[in-house]
Amino acid sequence: MSQPLIELRAITKTYGQGQAAFQALRGVDLQIEAGEFVAVMGPSGSGKSTVMNLLGCLDTPGSGEYLFQGIHVEQLDRNQRALLRRQCLGFVFQGFNLLARTSAQENVELPLLYRGEPAEVRHAAALAALAKVGLAEWAHHTPAELSGGQQQRVAIARAIVTNPLVLLADEPTGNLDSQRSHEIMELLVRLNQEQGITVLMVTHEPDMARYARRIVHFVDGLVHRDERNPEAAPCC
């Protein structure tokens, strides 16, 4: 497979209009191979979250090309993009974004429900995903009954329950203390290594970025530096 999993070509994105317009991305080129663990770093306003949202099809680019397995994503309509999210992508957000008053298991089952999986398959897959993140015992608790670290692990379980090609994490440790942060990062590394899930993570904490094997630095809407991280332990 000479073709990269993800390829961005001269992507731009502008927020607002006229005088107030702010160009968040100014022609980003980026290639990501299957199986990589990439950390995206950069100061506030550098465009790192914007690029993550574009990669996740949560937002649409102003111009440029976005190829996912050779498919021109920028030409897809809303429903096709939703289907791409459904089939290939998993999300982890800084704010967890779990459904309130809904048990961990039901939160994790939700993506499978939209895929139309039957109930037995959903239950089994959700429990398996929760076991992978170490929350098998907590399946029936609602987010309000879980700690921040646990909520984020439920969110990760929800993201991986569909066996996605790519896991997109936007500041997954931003709301957690350092010990929980390291636990989350170790979980992501394990998923990357054991399941071969491609992980893309936005962070501004160098400590967290160290877990990644490749670190992309964004400055002012452009890729500033793209480096291998020899420190990243092949761990475990």
Partner: protein
């Protein structure tokens, strides 16, 4: 997909019990208030209309004496005689029936019971004029009329006071100095338009009352009912000129009798009913509006939370129409449920209140449907439209919604 959406919708309703309850409550109150108001209004209107109908339609009351009021004297006015009745019957056009009435307040005794009531001596025409029907027994025979026999027909109240639950037919009542055989029982009419008990009455042949109660050939007043389509103004004018002529009144002398038209009273009351109905309609419209605003508020208050929820669903792969279907089902289910509960509540309230106020309970399908669909439409629109707006956002905007 429909099943999934149904499952998700019901799950959301169950999970957000307070919100669901408030939405349903808004619709229940709105629907129940409007239906109860209009149904009770209809009942009251019907009650008043029934009372007017029980007066007899197109009825003229002719009484001796000048128009009542300050400085008027009715004491010296001559009474009517039976000849006046015959003249009216023959010379005024468009009459259905003419009933002379001799009234007298008496104490009635039957067995050990006694009761004060009013006796009216009259003819069988009285039943036509007063819209009376018999519950049991028979009218006066020609023979009884002519001979002035001691027979009587009693109203429901008199029967209850003197005979309780037993049939009064064939029993006799002591009226002043003579015994009177009960030959008929009037069908109950209930309260009159002025609040008097119309069933507290005893009827006997005119001649019987004249001979045995008043001792004169005078007739107290005359009740005249007009045929349908008769112009009451014309009939009144004819009646008036006939009586003036028979009483030999000069042109410059006031009437020494008085003609009243119950149709005029009825028209006045009908106007009042019209006003009442319009007022009720306005109150109902306001209740619907207030109920609608209540529903709208609850729906809109939860928009922020729901917008984020929609963002999450879209992010993890839900299609726009899947999310919308779920929200639509949710809104429809809550609104329909609230509407049905409202209708049931209104039904119970109307039954109870009509019984309490002694009014007829008229089920009005129109207002039930109107209230149900109006509230349901508001529930669905305000539950669905904000959701549709949110589902059309890019997922990231929905997620960021504050």
């Amino acid at each position: 997909m429909l099943l999934n959406a149904l499952l998700l919708a019901l799950r959301e309703i169950r999970r957000n019990l307070l919100r669901s309850f408030l939405t349903v409550l808004g619709i229940v109150i709105g629907v129940a208030a409007v239906i109860t108001m209009v149904t009770l209004g209809n009942g009251a209107t019907r009650m008043v209309a029934d009372q007017i109908a029980s007066l007899g339609s197109n009825l003229l009351m002719v009484m001796p004496g000048q128009r009542l009021g300050p400085g008027r004297d009715s004491a010296g006015a001559p009474k009517f005689k039976i000849a006046d009745i015959e003249a009216i019957e023959q010379q005024v056009n468009g009459l259905k029936a003419v009933a002379p009435v001799v009234g007298s307040a008496v104490t009635l005794v039957a067995g050990t019971q006694n009761w004060s009531s009013t006796v009216s001596g009259t003819t069988n025409d009285y039943f036509v004029v007063g819209n009376w029907r018999l519950a049991a027994g028979r009218l006066f025979s020609e023979d009884e009329d002519r001979a002035g026999k001691a027979v009587c027909i009693i109203g429901n109240t008199v029967k209850k006071e003197l005979f309780g639950n037993q049939s009064p037919l064939g029993s006799s009542i002591r009226v002043k100095t003579f015994d009177c055989e009960v030959i008929g029982l009037l069908a109950a009419k209930g309260q009159g338009g002025m609040g008097q008990d119309q069933d507290d009455t005893v009827l006997m042949p005119l001649r019987t009352a004249q001979r045995r109660l008043t001792g004169t050939l005078d007739i107290g007043n005359v009740m005249v009912s007009l045929k349908d389509g008769t112009n009451s103004t014309v009939a009144m004018a004819q009646l008036r000129s006939l009586l003036r002529e028979r009483r030999k009144l000069a042109d410059n002398v006031d009437d020494n009798f008085n003609v009243m038209d119950t149709k005029q009273i009825a028209e006045t009351l009908s106007g009042t009913i019209g006003t009442m109905t319009a007022l009720l309609g306005a109150v109902a419209a306001v209740s619907l509006l207030v109920g609608g605003i209540g529903i709208m508020n609850i729906m809109l208050v939860s928009v922020t939370e729901r917008t984020r929820e929609i963002g999450i669903r879209l992010a993890i792969g839900a299609l726009e129409h899947e999310v919308l279907l779920q929200f639509l089902i949710e809104a429809v289910a809550l609104s329909a449920f609230g509407g049905l509960v409202g209708i049931a509540l209104a039904f119970v309230a109307c039954l109870g209140l009509s019984a309490l106020m002694r009014m007829p309970f008229l089920f009005n399908p129109g207002i039930n449907l109107t209230a149900f669909f109006f509230s349901a439409a508001i529930g669905v629109i305000f539950g669905f439209v904000p959701a549709r707006r949110a589902a059309r956002l890019d997922p990231i905007e929905a997620l960021r919604h504050e």
